[in-house]
């Protein structure tokens, strides 16, 4: 039952986008987010649209998969749209019924903010769809390294993320086993109201926590036995290297950003 959960969104592949250095992808995602916020009117979402479409095409991600990443947001989107639609100030009234009125400005803002949300999620999903969680952690670690000068634990943070990712499948398996063992003693996880069900989780969660702590202790011991002493002076197995494609990707993305800003200036 629990076994069928797939982890993260990563779609393995070997396309140009997959081969980009994770650091490039993280930084360019930030540039992309800046680009979204520079869009001045709904029309100019055509630039991020082309950008996302090209990235998706290059990385072999289908339109369907992108839609799937937006799906969890549908309620947030709806609320954003409705709030902006009804509660924006504006002069040109398009429709009025009692105290409810829709203005042209309100409609524009509603579309604008909804588009912003959609493009934010769709674009950043390309990062998580094409980068393995381990590569992401590596990238984040290197990018945060400069902050370690002011005492920020960048290596420790990345190590914690890597370990957490590594142990999710293990814990799922463990949870599955404990669930079965308690079901063998007549436990019922599936029926009853919310309160009853929450209470039924205790026989699952207590052993799961106990075993997670035991595993953490064992892992710490095993790491120390292999001379782990933190990030200082540690070399890596996978050394990240910037290549020409990283340069091209950066140029294209920055060009898109500049174009967006200029379009906003010239044709507001």
């Amino acid at each position: 039952m629990l076994r069928d959960i797939t982890l993260g969104q990563y779609m393995p592949g070997n396309t140009v986008i997959h081969r980009l250095d994770p650091r490039t992808k993280i930084l360019l995602t930030i540039v992309y987010i800046a680009m979204i916020f520079c869009v001045s009117s709904p029309v100019w979402y055509v630039i991020p649209l082309i950008f996302v479409a090209v990235c998706a095409k290059l990385s072999g991600i289908t339109f369907k998969q992108l839609i799937k990443t937006i799906k969890p947001l549908r309620f947030l989107l709806l609320i954003t749209f409705l709030l902006n639609l009804f509660f924006s100030a504006g002069a040109t009234v398009l429709f009025q019924w009692g105290f409810i009125k829709i203005t042209k400005e309100g409609l524009l803002t509603a579309v604008h903010f909804s588009m912003r949300l959609i493009f934010l999620v769709a674009g950043t999903s390309i990062l998580t769809l094409t980068t393995s969680p381990i590569a992401l952690c590596d990238g984040i670690e290197v990018l945060l390294k400069p902050l370690s000068k002011i005492g920020f634990p960048s290596h420790e943070l990345a190590m914690m993320m890597t370990i957490a990712l590594r142990f999710i499948p293990t814990l799922i398996e463990e949870a599955d086993k404990i669930m079965k063992a308690q079901m063998a003693r007549g436990a019922d996880f599936e029926s009853g109201n919310l309160f009853k069900r929450a209470k039924a989780m205790v026989p699952l969660l207590v052993p799961l926590f106990v075993s997670a702590f035991r595993r953490a202790g064992d892992l710490a011991m095993a790491m120390e036995a292999r001379c782990y002493h933190g990030g200082e002076g540690r070399t890596r197995l996978r050394v990240l290297k910037f290549g020409m494609i990283d340069l091209y990707a950066a140029l294209i993305t920055v060009a898109a950003l500049v174009l967006t800003i200029l379009c906003g200036k010239w044709f507001p």
């Binding site: 079965k180 063998a184 026989p203 207590v206």
Partner: protein, 288 residues
């Protein structure tokens, strides 16, 4: 209360790229009062098979019928099946969760909806059966006990459901020799007290050889062999070909026979081997 398994096939995640056949066309009957040793290499499907016996997983094809109840039929109460067949998982001590030993053992009977008096009675009986002292241990936290004691508490938790069939998945895994012996003795006593069918999964031949009335050998999801220990251990080559050994006594007897000593070919306990060697030595001494 026999258990009938008919043409049981189980596939994990059928229809996905990860699909894996764990059991293939297994047909078997387990009679009342048997003490069965279920043997097989890691990944041979032992655990998958025993999880079918109380309906934790359902057959992909075929049937499992426990005391007339078909576990895959819609109207079957799985709680009823689980009351009849108690399953003790591998490393069962990792499933303890309550504040006190008594509460943890009471978890099963409570789920059956028994009265507090009945539950208390069952907890006491179960603890006595596994050799734990109620007065001393009942109110302690299960997490402060020793490994062997924790395992007994977990087994008591299943026995408190008063099952007709007790299934134990590798009950001696990870215990020291003393703990091992005492768990095996406990299983022997539980079975000897009568009225209980025991199925014990193991890959230790020495554990199982002196205990089981019948052995079932699995290999790669299929039924490889079944019979009394004496019948099964005779097939040394077949066992070796599926990655299993024979008990040490049988192995020694085999090597002695290879070296030219005239020993019977179906010895498998150390007592038998001991008297056979003595007899042989006596004969040879007589000849000299």
């Amino acid at each position: 209360m026999p258990i009938q398994i008919e043409h049981l096939t189980h596939t994990y995640m059928p229809g996905s790229p990860f699909s894996a056949v764990a059991l293939r066309d297994i047909t078997l009957t387990i009679e009342d009062g048997e003490l069965i040793g279920l043997l097989g290499h890691t990944g041979s499907g032992k655990t998958t098979l025993v999880q079918h016996l109380n309906g934790l997983i359902k057959p992909t094809e075929g049937k499992v019928i426990v005391d007339g109840l078909d576990i895959s039929e819609k109207g079957t109460s799985l709680l009823e099946v689980r009351r009849k067949v108690g399953l003790v998982f591998q490393y069962p001590e990792y499933q303890l969760f309550e504040e006190t030993v008594a509460k943890d053992i009471a978890f099963g009977p409570k789920n059956l909806g028994l009265s507090p008096e009945d539950i208390d009675q069952r907890v006491r009986t179960a603890m006595e059966k596994v050799g734990l002292d109620y007065e001393e241990i009942a109110d302690r936290s299960p997490f402060e006990l020793s490994g062997g004691q924790m395992r007994r508490v977990a087994i008591a938790g299943v026995l408190a459901m008063q099952p007709k069939v007790l299934v134990l998945d590798e009950p001696t895994a990870g215990l020291d020799p003393a703990g091992r012996r005492s768990i095996l003795d406990m299983i022997r006593q539980l079975h000897a007290a009568g009225g209980l069918t025991v199925i014990m999964v193991s890959h230790s031949m020495d554990d199982i050889s002196t205990l089981a009335t019948r052995l079932i050998v699995m290999s790669k999801g299929e039924l490889a062999m079944t019979g009394t220990p004496r019948e099964v251990f005779k097939n040394r080559e077949l066992l070796a070909s599926i990655g299993l050994g024979v008990p040490q006594a049988a192995e020694l007897a085999h090597q002695l026979r290879e070296a030219g000593y005239d020993l019977p070919d179906d010895l498998y306990t150390s007592d038998e081997l001991y008297s056979a060697i003595l007899k042989l030595a006596g004969k040879e001494a007589g000849v000299c």
